[in-house]
């Protein structure tokens, strides 16, 4: 039983792998899970930055945009292979995060929130402004599907496996990060920056690194998004998307990696039910979020762990 408690995620992994075989999902169903997977990558990255390092970002969609547009432009206009374009996007996002990280992350709380929001807006207005390159507000079209070693991932199940492999890698590496000396430094920064500094943690450097990692994840998510959609427009990368990511974090349970992943999954599947409510959808979404925040401060993942502990009795630490 103790093993079940420790290795429950293996069951999850198996479920991800087996779902297409047993569930025989339509392209729509797998499409939903592909979008959910992309948002999980974004949310997990943001969790490293917000949940672990304690740095608020209301502009994370900026890096999502950078990844998507780098991939989109390089493949649709310059004939790059998708994998190469994704790599360029990663390098570009990491560089951008490196350059902006120090000055921006020196700010705290609301000021940081404001600066990241501004960063998001700047990226979006530049995308709209340089329409020759980006397609402007009308969007960028003709982005080819993803290919690896000449093998096209146009088939929805192939892409499902591809995206979810990335999801698993991102979650696994995030857990490796937070359960390592590196993650401990991040947590120390989150707890008490001055005290962390007194123990040799170069806070600016570690914050910037966490920011870069989150940016890299977001960029990868952006590339995956662009190749799946085949078309991207600035509307999907604005502040509203960034705010949605925040909501995913808190809905799922911030600072737990799995929580934000769960939050992303939930929020991306929720419209499947609430679309029927039409005009009431917005109100209902707001109320669901309020209820979770007030009554379940640890989010959906808190509910999940409580459930797990109920089923598997405590075995001691």
């Amino acid at each position: 039983m103790n093993a079940l408690k420790r290795y429950w995620w293996l069951i999850l992994l198996a479920a991800i792998a087996v779902y297409p075989v047993i569930g025989k999902p339509s392209p729509y169903r797998s499409g939903l899970l592909i979008f959910a997977g992309i948002y999980i990558i974004l949310a997990v990255g943001l969790d490293l930055l917000m949940g672990y390092t304690g740095q608020i970002s209301v502009g994370h969609a900026a890096f999502f945009a950078v990844g998507a547009y780098t991939s989109g432009i390089l493949t649709a206009k310059y004939g790059f292979s998708p994998a190469a374009a994704m790599g360029v996007g990663v390098v570009f996002s990491a560089t951008l995060a490196f350059l902006t990280g120090r000055p921006v992350l020196a700010l705290k709380e609301y000021y940081l929130a404001m600066a990241t929001l501004a960063f998001n807006e700047i990226v979006v207005t530049l995308i709209i402004g340089f329409e020759g390159l980006t397609g402007g507000a009308s969007g960028l079209r003709d982005i080819p599907p993803f290919t690896i070693f000449g093998f096209s991932l146009l088939n929805h199940l192939h892409y499902y496996y591809f995206v979810w492999t990335v999801v698993v890698l991102v979650i696994a590496s995030s857990i490796a990060v937070v359960r390592s000396p590196f993650g401990r430094a991040l947590i120390a920064i989150h707890s008490d920056e001055q005290a962390a500094r007194s123990f040799g943690v170069d806070c600016a450097k570690y914050k910037t690194r966490a920011y870069m990692l989150a940016a890299v994840y977001a960029s990868i998510a952006g590339s995956l998004f662009a190749h799946y959609m085949g078309f991207i427009a600035p509307d999907d990368f604005g502040i509203l998307t960034s705010i949605n990511l925040l909501v995913m974090l808190f809905l799922g349970g911030i600072g737990t990696i799995f929580g934000p992943a769960l939050g992303a999954l939930f929020l991306k599947l929720l419209p499947e039910i609430t679309y029927q409510f039409q005009d009431y959808e917005l109100l209902i979404n707001g109320i669901i979020l309020i209820v979770v925040l007030v009554f379940f401060p640890r989010g959906l993942f808190g509910i999940f762990t409580a459930l797990r502990n109920k089923i598997v009795p405590r075995m001691g630490k």
């Binding site: 499409g31 709209i128 009308s138 969007g139 079209r141 959609m229 085949g230």
Partner: protein, 381 residues
């Protein structure tokens, strides 16, 4: 503990609802509808949805198509390309529609186009999106080309001697498209573009741009924009006592716009389909009959006349039905070919003749230029 049990219950219900989904019988022919019912384009989504539903009803009452009834399955795209892409995929793969209709903006159309082409589902959009048949073989558009709107206005300008035109374009897709079209035909109709300014559609005030434009001494202003920003420009022009006509986009040919400009004195010029002014059409115009008939039913059902958006959707459904009729199958690829072969079909937006190179089908003559006088649409003299 109670809270815990409750949350488990909620979670299970959630999963069950997602898993179940609605079940449809196989009988009727399914057509997908994609409408912006929430988000910033939600004000026009409703018009389109209503018209599409009415048209399907009318076709079914007349016995359906090839003996089968039509059914419209429609979803909200939240005015977001991502959601539009998602619902398009849902319609294609889950609901297995034979064709789709709808969308409200260029980015939304782009997102849907990508899915339509990938899964080879004929789709009739209606927005400023210019269909390039070499890239979008499965896409058709019942919205008049922006070029036609510009040409329609320029013809009137030529008659009235308006030669100097200033552009006030929104930052965004419409501005990009409108500006391009305005420049393309300027020389042909003897119009000079004296300058261009841009503005943010969310702005509360555009007097700064208008002040600059006034310095250019134009005889008219062209703002290819829809809804509130269009009315806002008119109102700001009133405030500056800047008395030249304001040409706006054909997306304003709807009753909501009349309400918005009820207090505006600036002369608004709105290119439109003939649907907005059927009484001004000669009886010889074949579209008149179609418009009058649909309008009658629209008023009966919704207590308001059809508008430009309604006409776009009514025609979209009609064209799909026509394609189904002529091809006799529900195979989407054959349906596409059938729609592409439609010639001389009389709709509300005009007479459609598609070719492998032209998926808009309508002509400049299918548009008229309207103005607002005393809360009513008028044809300017």
């Amino acid at each position: 503990m109670k809270r815990f049990v409750f949350s488990v219950f909620v979670l299970m219900v959630f999963v069950a609802l997602v898993a179940a989904g609605p079940a449809w019988s196989k009988e009727p022919i399914k057509i997908g509808g994609i409408f912006s019912l929430t988000g910033y384009l939600s004000w026009l989504g409703e018009y389109k949805k209503k018209a599409a539903e009415l048209k399907v009803e009318m076709i079914n009452q007349a016995g359906g198509v090839n003996g089968q009834q039509l059914v419209l399955i429609s979803y909200d795209d939240n005015s977001s390309p991502e959601q539009a892409s998602k619902v398009a995929q849902r319609l294609i793969s889950k609901d297995q529609v034979v064709a789709m209709a709808g969308t409200a903006s260029v980015p939304l159309s782009g997102a849907v186009a990508s899915m339509a082409n990938r899964y080879k589902i004929p789709t009739i959009i209606n927005s400023g999106y210019a269909v390039d048949t070499s890239k979008d073989p499965y896409l058709f558009n019942t919205s008049h080309k922006t070029d036609f709107a510009v040409i329609t206005a320029y013809k009137v300008f030529q008659k009235k001697g308006i030669k100097k035109l200033a552009l006030l374009m929104p930052i965004g897709p419409l501005g990009e498209i409108g500006g391009t079209a305005a420049r393309k035909y300027a020389a042909e109709y003897g119009v000079t573009i004296v300058g261009e300014e841009k503005f943010d559609v969310k702005a509360a005030d555009v007097t700064a741009q208008l002040a600059k434009i006034r310095n250019m001494n134009p005889q008219a202003i062209f703002a290819f924009v829809t809804g509130e920003p269009a009315a806002l420009i008119g109102r700001n022009m009133d405030q500056l006592s800047f008395k030249v006509p304001l040409l706006v986009s054909h997306g304003n040919a709807n009753p909501g716009f009349l309400k918005l400009v009820s207090n505006v004195r600036t002369q608004m010029l709105v290119p439109s389909g003939k649907v907005m002014k059927p009484e001004a059409l000669p009886d010889s115009d074949p579209t008149k009959k179609v418009i009058v008939e649909f309008n009658k039913k629209h008023i009966a059902k919704y207590k308001e006349p059809a508008n430009y958006f309604s006409a776009e959707l009514a025609d979209a459904i009609d064209l799909i039905a026509e394609g189904l009729r002529t091809s006799g199958t529900t195979d989407p690829v054959k349906l596409r070919d059938a729609i592409e072969n439609i010639k001389g079909f009389v709709g509300m937006q005009g007479i459609y003749t598609f070719t492998p190179k032209d998926h808009h089908g309508t002509r400049p003559d299918d548009m008229i230029l309207l103005t607002v006088k005393a809360g009513k649409w008028e044809v300017p003299k």
